[in-house]
Symmetry: C2
Subunit: 392 residues, 2 copies
């Protein structure tokens, strides 16, 4: 525990024109505890990355900033496995990247196809609707995914300009297969947009080889940085559509023609560049293998305890976020609360379509280790012993 803020006296001048006094809560010390963040994100930030965030601030036009931005671009190109020139980081959380992708590629009145196999597809549909797109969705039950045939049928039927798919669906724990979908999209003259916020760096994805036109992720998952920076990349095909649109995107802040000129992340990129450096040093394939091995070790341990995995199909299990069927007879909130209180570990319940149905455990980046798995298994076993069990 570190102590924030020194105790200090309020400095109000005697004849004040202020009607709102300095808040007492801000004049008290406040401590931020260390916790194991094994929920679906944010994940823990290792010292090397938080130290980088405390480096001196730079101006947004300094030579070193331009150089750092080039490094970030190279790091994202590596992490995404792409040669795309149009590769950058948006200053904002994952939602900002999602809107950046949709706002730039879609014009009002255009047809969009969204795969809804969890909450992120629902969000994407909501965003596309708000800008006046004709939104069509394909929906599947929580925990399952689409075949390429199902996707092709929908592409043929709706003739969308954009197809949205979540790679790592953190609400259901599904890792969606990507192979062949890019080719299908291009056959139907459609851009392929992939959300890999919860999977990137933890599960294989090859932007160029798999024909992905727009790909984005977040900083606070496998990359282990604080939230607020979202790497994103656009293919030539995507750029061609974006730079030939008839209308301007609704957002100036997220307009690619402005972002491409200069991305709005003054000074801050130092944090994400450190994350990307760690990934480059580790090696992308080693990172994928690490997440896969640790997830399999975790899944085995869970099954040994008698717990059930929510995603039936082994190869569709997201290696970064595991969904466990909520143990029958227990109140899931009691389990997550017990583990937080007694083990200082965050795990979470379901979200959107999986609400009430699952427990979710995220092990991303530096959190993805067998030692952490052992910790969680022990905490879960302890919770199942001590939490109330109904007679059901």
């Amino acid at each position: 525990m570190l102590q924030l803020r020194s105790k200090a006296m309020c400095a109000l001048t005697s004849m004040s024109s202020l009607s709102v006094p300095p808040p007492q809560c801000l004049l008290q010390p406040f401590t931020v505890p260390h916790r194991y963040l094994f929920g679906p994100g944010p994940s823990n930030v290792p010292p090397r990355i938080s130290t980088a965030g405390a480096q001196p601030m730079l101006g947004h036009l300094h030579a070193e900033t331009i150089e750092i931005m080039d490094h970030i671009k190279s790091g994202i190109q590596y992490a995404f496995q792409t040669q795309n020139r149009m590769t950058l980081a948006v200053s904002g959380p994952g939602h900002a990247a999602m809107e950046c992708a949709i706002f730039n590629t879609v014009e009002s009145g255009e047809s969009v196809l969204i795969a809804v196999h969890g909450i992120w597809g629902e969000r994407a549909a909501e965003m596309a609707e708000r800008i006046g797109a004709k939104v069509n969705t394909i929906v599947t039950s929580a925990g399952s995914y689409y075949t390429n045939d199902e996707i092709e049928q929908a592409l043929a039927k709706y003739k969308p300009v954009l197809f949205f798919l979540t790679h790592g669906e953190s609400s259901t724990g599904v890792l969606h297969p990507i192979d062949g979908i890019g080719e299908l999209c291009h056959k139907y003259d459609c851009l392929f947009l992939v959300d890999s916020v919860a999977a990137l760096g933890g599960a294989p994805i090859y932007m160029d080889k798999q024909g992905i036109d727009i790909l984005y992720t977040g900083s606070q998952k496998v990359l282990n940085a604080p939230p607020g920076t979202a790497p994103i990349s656009f293919s030539e095909r995507a750029c061609h559509k974006i730079f030939n649109r008839k209308t301007k995107p609704v957002s100036y802040f997220l307009d690619l023609s402005w972002l491409a000129n200069y991305w709005g992340c003054d000074g801050k990129p130092v944090v994400i560049v450190e994350s990307l450096a760690i990934l480059a040093e580790t090696g992308l394939e080693n990172s994928w293998k690490q997440h896969k091995d640790v997830a399999e070790y975790f899944h085995m341990g869970l099954e040994k305890m008698g717990l059930k995995l929510f995603v039936q199909d082994k190869k569709a299990r997201l290696p970064t976020v595991t969904t466990i069927v909520a143990p029958p007879g227990y109140e899931w909130r009691e389990i997550t609360g017990y583990i937080m209180k007694n083990h200082n570990i965050e795990i979470s319940g379901g979200l959107g379509p999986s609400l009430g149905m699952v427990l979710r455990v995220g092990l991303m980046g530096c959190n993805s280790t067998k030692a952490h798995v052992d910790m969680i298994l022990q905490a879960l076993a302890d919770a199942l012993k001590h939490c109330h069990k109904s007679k059901v």
Copy 2:
């Protein structure tokens, strides 16, 4: 200078499926220099704030996070001098706050009035146009401001639902008067939106007393935090319009009904809370006085050197960002380049309407000291001696 990133060997596996190798630039050490950031922002981040940013990450639903968010809310209420319940921080740069204000309060087809006395009014007009508002502007020459009569005439003529005004116009160095404008807006049933990114904390503003309906600022100016968090507050009157709109705002990410429920700044608020704590300890009026005294000391020194201030009217001079008439006969870029190279100090040229006409010097928060003024005056004198002077 601190060294980032340890030298490390690339970890490519022998039979790689990767077509993009780990970038060499990320595998090299990289140093971030310390510089005096005396441009219009970002400003330097003091150790106390950067240390707070390196605190352990918290989950966005942890009790401490909720508590920190309450502290931030109190801190913003103090800094803004408001009792508004709807007070929060947007996860994004100033542009995101500007869009948050406009997107939520304005519907397509509604009339908006924008005061363009620098670049920020131009940006606001661009944003309002993109969402289909009927945008009317009042324009004044760079370096001047509007009288309340001029504003009232425009309000009567255009009957806008929203009037946008920049308090601290960092592109021209003008501190715009605020008194009486809120009442005028309300007389014409119009919301009063004020951008105080470059002035808040450094010059007096009283949100409630001055009848401001929406007010926002940035984290990287007087607050001395890294960019990426934007405090914003909405009056009851603004909320009434927002929560009775007929259409949804174009952005989900910036939709107040979602933000109000939970603002998307997981974990990160620790940095901004520390900035707000420093402001509460210092006292808002002491901070205003400090910026005023230091600015006046700076302006006197500049005039003693024979340099001219761009803003004629003394009381309209922004105490956080000073605009100096570009010295005749010199190339302004040579001056800023010389000072950066030889004095390790960033100052900047003009922006938008003041491009080529001024030098801009920002002294905000911890940077606002007489010792820093002396440093800059010396650097400027040195530059004027050594830079090329044309025969003009």
